[in-house]
Subunit: 464 residues, 2 copies
Amino acid sequence: MNKSDDISSFFSPKGVAIVGASQTPGKIGHEIVRNIKLSGFSGGVFPVNPNAENVLDLKCYGRLSDIRAEVDLAVIAVPAGLVEGVVRDCIEKGVKAAIIITSGFSEVGNKELEERVVSIARRRLRIIGPNTFGVFYAASRLNATFGPGKVLWGKTAFITQSGALGLALMDWTTEEKYGVSSIVSIGNKADVDDADLVEYFSRDPSTSSILIYMEGLRDGRKFFEASRRAVREKPIVVIKAGRSARGARAASSHTGSIAGQDTIFTAAFEQAGIMRAEGMTQAFDWIQALNENPVPKGENVVIVTNGGGLGVLATDKCEGLGLKLAELPNDLKDEIKAITPSFGSVKNPIDLTANADDVLYGKVLDIVLRRRDVDCVIALFCQTANIDPILVAQAMLDARDRDILEKPITAAFVGGHLSQVAYSRMLEKRFAVYPSAERAVDAMYALMARHRQLEKFKGGGELR
Amino acid sequence: MNKSDDISSFFSPKGVAIVGASQTPGKIGHEIVRNIKLSGFSGGVFPVNPNAENVLDLKCYGRLSDIRAEVDLAVIAVPAGLVEGVVRDCIEKGVKAAIIITSGFSEVGNKELEERVVSIARRRLRIIGPNTFGVFYAASRLNATFGPGKVLWGKTAFITQSGALGLALMDWTTEEKYGVSSIVSIGNKADVDDADLVEYFSRDPSTSSILIYMEGLRDGRKFFEASRRAVREKPIVVIKAGRSARGARAASSHTGSIAGQDTIFTAAFEQAGIMRAEGMTQAFDWIQALNENPVPKGENVVIVTNGGGLGVLATDKCEGLGLKLAELPNDLKDEIKAITPSFGSVKNPIDLTANADDVLYGKVLDIVLRRRDVDCVIALFCQTANIDPILVAQAMLDARDRDILEKPITAAFVGGHLSQVAYSRMLEKRFAVYPSAERAVDAMYALMARHRQLEKFKGGGELR
């Protein structure tokens, strides 16, 4: 049995016990039971608390050993001093995985207790945490966290070393319509670490990309080796905080991590084929583009815009990021010229001008998407008086549906209320859409980076 | 009479004629009349069209000379071939300023016609355009554009060389609650150029910052000299598109601009004290921070957060941008320690942890804002289970109200629906708030850059 099999009980358990379940709303031990109950998890749910008859209408057990049914996952939310005993109970009961929510371990200097707990568990019980807000896994409808009850399902596994940030992002992904296949609050990484999770998610059919917020690593070699294998299957995007000297100190007082030399991390990420994002916005932009699009088959980028200025800004950004704007062949130019206003540009960016309507926009997208000498399209939209953003959004969605050559498209919508409505609608339809030209280009950059990576693999080569 | 006096009729005219007014909704000559009428402009409004009796219930005149009342601004929306004659009519009537909406001039290669029109007007009639969507000026309640009828009033004069992008941003600023004091679609800059406008807005009491979207300059020396003077009064932020070779080509086919060597622009912007933003998002982030805050009096930055991870990300960004995180003196640490949970950090970033509530958040902000050894505060918020974002927003707003030392504050709200509501409320209350830690830091960077600039001026020195 290999390691990733070892940790499957965190995600697809048959039965979950919540040790330290509480009847009091607002308490962590209550919220976790509530979230598991409401998320639609189909396995057994067993609150454990010697002082309660039931929690949220679920029969409550005095001890783990009182439960007759199989329990393979325990969520532990008891005071730090009681954790050791509960871990022993888990082993006795045959529990395979424990999420230790409790804080007060290595993150506050209490390394000894943490090591003792791990050494008790070793080889019999895998541990996520301590000091975590839990695990969400969409495919099992399991929300074993004290975070928001409502999470939007999607394709990204999100691993976070920061609790508060992770909780906030859990809410944020739902609000912004970015779905997740899983969220793991990795806590102190006393046992299960980023490497284990990367390996697991690289084989998880419900996950198509992996996003990590990381402050430090205990075992760099293990992580980079796991990642090097995993990126052959799925893209990995990392936000590595603590890149500056001062940031590293802050990380150290936050999670007790040794952030390490940033230049070494940068080199190692690159070598392993991990995409390092500068911050949250960029990371989610990239992930969205990677999730909602096929990977481009070549380097030829075409920009279509109804605003010349947006086209220029996008061109600057493309050049800055090393994206190659295709020189359009004459027959393509002629085809576009035949239907665009006389003062539009048929160079690349293709500028349809502010006079363009959604019909023209859709036609030009069709022309471009049909070409084998075009590999991907950045579609930019400026709201002007004579065009309805919602119709343009529909035109883009329709063009994507007709895109039988499976080219990636990223889009930007700039404008007022109607543009926002159009933008939201496109997000809902899982279109990689952004509120500025720069971000739509940066998102395409992520897709191109993935293309280049896959080309190297095709060549049989290792990434280097 | 100096130049900026010359152009005041564009912004505060006594009477406006719309030459080429139309009865047909959707036509540019109709939309402009409608916008002027609906914006609440108190001067005379005179549609001119020989084939109409009235437009939108306003009496319509056959020619400019038929109007008895004073007309100092004409908005010209007739076909290109008729513009020359209308300009002659303007001069005859004593009009001082003309906005030529009409396109089909130098931007499509028709330089001769453009030069002829300008030479007729020279010294008697100032021209904005041709090829513009018009001028909005909040203080006169004048919306002489064919853009959106509703524009949010604020403190920034926005000058745009791109029509479609400008129109889209006009809508966007309202949707995003960024107000503008003026929007000028500068068009082909045949006469009035960026330099004239920078000079005018530097003295305009309703404007406190200037934002320019620029593709190229005809008279660089004039612009940089005007800006060098203007930045002593108000910050200027520029988005200069066409920075890449390919982008410059796109700019050339878009507005016929010669984008010029980008490195020369970069140096010249810096020398003139102009802040160059990388794109729209950054430009508006900076402008918002500059508009809604006093300038810091020193370099000491303090970060307050309830999420350690956000604190680390912000610290990295600060260090990347050369913002100095203050070393907190012991008495300040003690004061904070006395009220924060034991496992919070009283280093800088001050981490109140996910257990913080709005009351604690407000108290810590008060402590920090009262200190003379703190110059500015970056307040970061992560939505977690036990804290109400709307109360935190209120705590931040209250702390700002009590901030008698007038320190700048930028904030970030990361979370779900309630965080978005809190964020919107803060924007409405004119608080410089952002959806990510990085952007809140970048906004503070703009304020610090302005501080450093003003310090140089104080020293009697020129910027260099």
